[in-house]
Symmetry: C2
Subunit: 415 residues, 2 copies
Amino acid sequence: MSDLIQMGEQAVAAKYKLQCLSTELKNQALQVAADLLVERANYILDENAKDIQRGKENGMPEGLLDRLKLTKDRIDGIAEGLLQVKALPDPVGKVLETFERPNGLYIEKVSVPMGVIGIIYESRPNVTADAFGLCFKSGNAVILKGGSDAICSNIAIVTVLRDALKQCEIDENAVQLIEDTDRAVTKEFMKMKEYVNVLIPRGGAGLIRSVVENSSIPVIETGTGNCHIYVDKDADLEMAVTIIFNAKTQRIGVCNACESLVIHEAIKDRFLPMLAKKLSEKNVEMRGDKEACDVLDSMVPATEEDFGKEYLDYILSVKTVKNVEEAITHINRYNTGHSESVITENKAVADQFLAQVDAACVYVNASTRFTDGFEFGFGAEIGISTQMLHARGPMGLRELNTYKYTIRGNGQVRG
Amino acid sequence: MSDLIQMGEQAVAAKYKLQCLSTELKNQALQVAADLLVERANYILDENAKDIQRGKENGMPEGLLDRLKLTKDRIDGIAEGLLQVKALPDPVGKVLETFERPNGLYIEKVSVPMGVIGIIYESRPNVTADAFGLCFKSGNAVILKGGSDAICSNIAIVTVLRDALKQCEIDENAVQLIEDTDRAVTKEFMKMKEYVNVLIPRGGAGLIRSVVENSSIPVIETGTGNCHIYVDKDADLEMAVTIIFNAKTQRIGVCNACESLVIHEAIKDRFLPMLAKKLSEKNVEMRGDKEACDVLDSMVPATEEDFGKEYLDYILSVKTVKNVEEAITHINRYNTGHSESVITENKAVADQFLAQVDAACVYVNASTRFTDGFEFGFGAEIGISTQMLHARGPMGLRELNTYKYTIRGNGQVRG
């Protein structure tokens, strides 16, 4: 039996126990895990140092090294994350609906855990504990496949988490880490449909594409965000500048950052200079269509490719449109189903935009940066879904559950 | 541009129009479609006769020929199905939740269509109109890929449906049929992630497996049902006989039929003869483990394979257990996540079974045959989901929608 199959069987055995755990015991385990992470910080830091050392030897860029690096403060933050999940309501066992049929069958729709969740992610080791916390509190076993860059850190964190579970007399196979960093193992993992109920990739567009194309396990696609802000002719232009500056520059590497401005032609002459002035504070490059280039000398001509691009950089594409219909058509063509915003004081335009733009989160007069589990009040998130099935937008504990129907009868048979 | 890509683009263009259609117009179109199907029944029957003729030439078995065959009555039934869908409430645009954040953002969670739904199905031509009706009423465009056996019938039905849409001035690309019956085209279709939001296979286990393994479009897995009934030591044995007879024999080829009996050892000596007598009315073969074989001479010894098998035939496997825990473990190991039932007068046993059996529908004292959109009161169904993501169990109109968040602000930016 391969290691992966064994892990699969262990996860399945664990999931049946996890779905029956009391909220109290789950919360106790999260507390113990948080405490142990802090208590054994030196062990984790020593293991993390090995990853950092190897990264440096392999010429890993500074930005990635920084994402990989753990410190005492960062470990405190990871532990704090588990305590936040502890404080959230338990999503399991909620009666979502009840109905009685004319034949007397009494049906309840009840929230239940998914079972075994697989998470494939890249180099940040904090995801290891975050993903465990959310899956565990929602009653699921989790099999983690982290990046090879962070393997020592991940092994250390999972060792501590499993020790915490053991201390609470909970099956430690509630969390398992695939330690073999061979890509062939990842591919094999994506075919383990018999053991893994849902697969969630977290990372860059390449990772997500690979999972979607290769997995036979149902996938929740997350993350890619080519987010637009449409500035209507009836916009409060000062507000529009403030919102775009925030959505573009507050944090550039995130999926809910604004990547493209769509602008009504009637206001472009007034608005683009205002915006360019503000964006110049952060040296944002603007790449526009011909109409936009006519307004600003600093505007770089955009190619077709620019409009489909998630830059994750200090770059903003600019598309000029004649009306809200054209704005909606453009956005529906190029967006990734993540977050889109309209800036307007015109209620009819706002309503049309909200109704017709196809994305998980559609905003009026607000920054796209709010698409986030914490900002939505979900308390935490496992990712932002950009697909149609199951969940859309920020996914918290509730979205890590499914449901089942329980039906009580007194001898009913079908006629 | 290949035909498939063109169909994909046409479906995407249609979906944006469909999501804005009024309930009235959708209902009108369903009425016109129902009327036209009846009015042009002779055209459909002529085309169906070509499929039947070809089927006979190819030596198609009687049972399949019967599923393929249309009659005036069956066409009336298909039209009636569209009118039933017309009568159901429109699932689109329901406000599912509202919440306000401390920063003043007002968030609504609203039901919206999926977009473009792909349906891959086998030989029954009635699915063509059924699937259209459900997808259309729920605001989705649909691309159908039917079996090659029914190609002439399917073309005829889709021609009539598209004519009905045209009469109502609705984009007829709301429904399209892939007419090329080459298997390579089906494989290409399953990769059209850019155009198709969800893929639903309807048919046998082989078809469903092929779709799950080859699709890069998110799939809703439907249909396979290895359903168990556990007869507890505290069961009303007369009731148990009646329920098992119904679940096993009322219709053998369906996914919610009972395939396996799990029986408490304390009552096997009394119960198995009672059950065998009743099942002999339909010549049901029983295949049991050693303990069951010891009771009845007529019992055929079961192999390990029997317990994992969806017979769809007059065969029932029999497994003996010591208690409800062992019953649950056995069922969770062999079931397909469809429908499971316990027969017991003991409330604690019933509650434990409902809580711990992992399936879409878990019953107490009722036949598994009730897992069905009509029986649940959903009015119609597109299939029975056996996966964890999105929907579980019977899927009606509501399950063909997803949601989006609309967020209204007044200038909020993220700090």
